[in-house]
Symmetry: C2
Subunit: 351 residues, 2 copies
């Protein structure tokens, strides 16, 4: 597998299937781990960081879950390729800022990935299509155990649990999240109440494009805020239970809206489709908004000539690095808006 | 010919051909005439109005230009049919307010029409596709002469010329106008300067849907303000000369825009087309705006799968009375917005 292979397909977690995949795009579990008696990445000397890199790299290269995948040094990649990994949700935006002593591991189907020397020595991520936090957690646990059982000695305190660079990740080191599409709660203005309730229950919401981004186009990434003082299973059970309710709210809102304002919804959905199929210049913000409406159209079976997988493909490929990778060169924001519109037209026409 | 025939076709003046028909939709000449020694319609008794009606009706029924056409009493029509005539630009909105003692004459191709007992005893109108004021005037003159020469004695003063109910129409009784489509002058914000210049030169601008309406969707109906103290030929020459310049301004603006911002124009045009083809609810205001962009697209040969005649058909048939006539019953504004979208989708899909 090479990096260029990413351009020919989508990660398995974007296949648009799995439980409640009309509302839950994907589920993700991330574990933060650090080597015992080695300074955290930010405090480590260059030599120490290189040593951390070497030992974790060896462990990952050897791991059965990551075989046939990719193990790449950030320093070897140009700016577009680094951003490509961010856009694929495989590494964090922070991770690519300073590429020294950093490597990423990516499984062949993109379901599993690891960052070496991000904030923590190792960040391990497992993604699943649809609503399947437990499934993602089970795999993450197996990889964690296989790593800890063989080569790596992780920093662990019997009092605090796993030690992490930032105390907000200590304890389980576990961050579970789901990507939700809640267009009808947004449309019916119930979303703020839902997000407030979620926050009171210890969860937090972000946008589709990750940490620090606004929720856009009705997509919300919901994750647990607390990692300490709870068992792993409590965290995953808690998020599954709460998200199940949010899913039901969105389902009910969709049913109500279809019963009461079918025409208005159809109008909104088909207009979005019409614009996407015809525009010659389009920003990523507008694209996300319109794709959100079209996705709802597919979920409500109003639009039948396109499926969720094709829409997910657009969500990923309309991003700046993907567009530039497709074009084989750097593009100005204006050039990207033209290229983006062209890509969307060709994908929707061939659908 | 019956009134229902109107629903199966368009007036000849909307065929989308003729000189400069990319910018000048149509040309129109209207003559105001009153019978000698008979009170103007507003001042006349019911009996006098009926007498006026009878004598003009007889003259029109007999006229070679109007044979095979329609001569209809407003009282016989229901509200939808009356408004249908307004929407076809065959009678004025004022004409249908009080239907008593009023008749309309319509030639088979809708190029010629007459109103009996509007503000003046007879308003005669001739319309031509494209930029052809002189052509319309020539026909109007012939009809005027054929009427005056046979049955009718028109009120005429050697000092004032033709006498009319409102002094602003006295003299020639001639109003010449052209319907212009000036999207690029609007887009490049040159339109106000152009309209100001036009006004200084004795012309006045209105919207597509007639007197008292705002110019909408970049359509402007330009006509002469003064009817008195000029010869007929001066009036038609003046408007032809000025409009010729406006046409050149618009042509130049289109060339400039295509050279400098081809992509932005294509984006605007195709988005409009995409929305029209896909919307399920659409107001007449938005429709006009979007049709304006699509028409520009056809003129610039960006859109090739539809022609001006088809667009003109939409301009006419998306109006309230046409929609209600098609549906065979009264529709609320909300129902019309749905019916309008449906009509547009079906017309554009079959194009």
């Amino acid at each position: 597998m090479t990096l260029d292979d990413l351009m020919n397909r989508l990660g398995e977690w974007l296949k648009g299937e799995g439980p409640n995949s009309d509302i839950v795009m994907s589920s993700r579990v991330r574990l933060a781990r650090n080597l015992n008696k080695v300074p955290f990445s930010h405090w480590a000397t260059k030599k120490q960081r290189e040593q951390t890199l070497a030992s974790i790299k060896e462990a990952l290269a050897d791991n059965e879950f990551l075989k046939d995948g990719l193990l790449i040094s950030m320093k070897e990649l140009d700016e577009i390729d680094r951003n490509l990994l961010v856009e694929r949700h495989l590494v964090s935006r922070e991770f690519i800022q300073k590429p020294d002593s950093k490597m990423a591991a990516i499984s062949a189907n993109e379901a599993i990935s690891g960052m070496i020397n991000e904030e923590d020595h190792l960040r391990l991520q497992v993604m699943k299509s649809g609503f399947n936090v437990t499934g993602a957690f089970d795999i993450a646990t197996k990889i964690d155990q296989s790593l800890a059982g063989r080569l790596l000695d992780f920093a662990f305190s019997s009092e605090w649990g796993y030690l992490t660079a930032c105390p907000t990740n200590a304890g389980t080191g576990l961050r579970a999240s789901v990507m939700l599409h809640l267009p009808t709660l947004v449309l019916t203005k119930q979303i703020n109440k839902v997000l407030q309730a979620i926050t009171r229950l210890g969860l937090t919401a972000r946008g589709f494009y990750g940490e620090g981004t606004e929720a856009s186009g009705d997509f919300f990434q919901i994750s647990n805020q607390v990692t300490l003082g709870q068992r792993e299973e409590d965290i995953t059970d808690n998020i599954e239970r709460i998200i199940k309710q949010v899913v039901e709210y969105e389902q009910n809102a969709r049913q109500m809206l279809m019963a009461q304002e079918r025409q208005r919804i159809a109008d909104r959905i088909w207009r979005a489709y019409g614009i996407l199929k015809n525009a010659y210049i389009i920003s990523s913000g507008e694209t996300i908004e319109l794709l959100s409406s079209v996705r709802l159209g597919v979920d409500l079976e109003i639009i039948k000539d396109i499926n969720r997988h094709q829409l997910n493909e657009l969500f990923i490929f309309i991003q700046p690095a993907h567009l530039q990778k497709l074009e084989g060169k750097k593009l100005s924001p204006q050039e990207r808006d033209v290229k983006r519109a062209q890509l969307i037209r060709s994908k929707l026409l061939s659908s």
